[in-house]
Symmetry: C2
Subunit: 202 residues, 2 copies
């Protein structure tokens, strides 16, 4: 699974895939793709010019969320095998992508340059408040246990600017306990070590 050559270390999305493989005990290898000079070969694998993408036998996939659901089919450590547990895991995985990240990422992006009011501020706070209410009543999002939905949701929520948005104690505790998992630490350390090993002169 090629990672980005530069970018925000510790937050590039290959971390999600590393983390899933670590939770599931799946072997993996990470290669780099230069951020500069991405050519037709890169766009052929990732039509939006991003990372990561995943190679697994005959299968090549982009979209970290899709890669996570693909990996989750391989291991009960990531997703229960019963139909109801699988459906709950699927719905919360999609919620992380399309109800939370769909608001937090554009909000974060606008915040990079806007010095005035962020037009997405109210929406972000409302979505996080709904999620905080859910997490006040349960330890994990789906099926009463840790699943790939928690892995993804925690990765969406651990972004420093998102963590600092509003006062959501249940979200804070949830991110802390999810990122305290040894598999997260191995994935995080792995990404940082990868960047360090592949540093190039500027």
């Amino acid at each position: 699974m090629p990672a980005g050559k530069s970018g925000p270390r510790g937050f590039v999305r290959d971390l999600r895939l590393r983390w899933a493989c670590e939770e599931a005990g799946l072997g993996y290898e990470v290669r780099s793709v230069p951020l500069k000079d991405r050519g037709p070969e890169h766009f052929a694998r990732q039509p939006f010019g991003q990372v990561p993408f995943l190679e697994d036998g005959d299968i090549t996939m982009f979209e970290s969320g899709a890669c996570l659901l693909h990996l989750a089919r391989k291991s009960e450590a990531l997703m229960p095998r019963d139909a109801v547990g699988e459906a709950e895991t699927l719905q919360w995985t999609i919620a992380a992508l399309n109800s939370i990240e769909m608001v937090t990422v554009p909000w974060w992006f606008i915040g990079l340059s806007a010095d005035a009011d962020n037009p997405l501020e109210g929406w972000v706070l409302k979505r996080l408040a709904h999620l905080d209410a859910v997490l006040a009543r349960r330890e994990w999002l789906a099926a009463g246990r840790f699943t790939v939905a928690d892995l993804l949701m925690a990765d969406v929520l651990r972004v420093p600017k998102v963590r600092a948005a509003g006062d959501f104690p249940s979200i804070r505790a949830y991110v802390d306990r999810t990122c305290a998992r040894p598999a997260f630490k191995r994935a995080y350390d792995g990404q940082m070590a990868h960047f360090a090993a592949h540093d190039e002169p500027a």
Copy 2:
């Protein structure tokens, strides 16, 4: 699958589920949820207070994208059964949710109130340009055939403001041919008829 009581007729997301059921020949029934006075019972089923959600035997799901992937597992009309075709369908379904809609929906939302420059304009146009390049070279997104990924992507792209963004002839032709499918027309007509039958005095 309960739909919203009001909202933008013809674009409420239960249409995605109606369309999938129509493509797959799955029987379904749609019920309404009042938009006003959504109480704890509604939030228990849909933590963000939205629609649609799906009831299927023991399974209750929210997130239209998750519901679509759930329905796609039931019918080869929505997703091929081979591993590579399934992976391609999954990646493009997630791309519709997290690479396209993650930009188009906040951009549309900001455009509702902002009279100045939309800070997401450049990002939207870039994402659509990448997608237009993909669609210039193929009829359907995944597996060389219509899949649930096309259903979702076309629904994301057919929003009038998105259709009017930039000049992307391959996207325009793609949305036209996807929405020309009889199953889309039945789903659309069904949603409009549902609203008409459930009109209440303002």
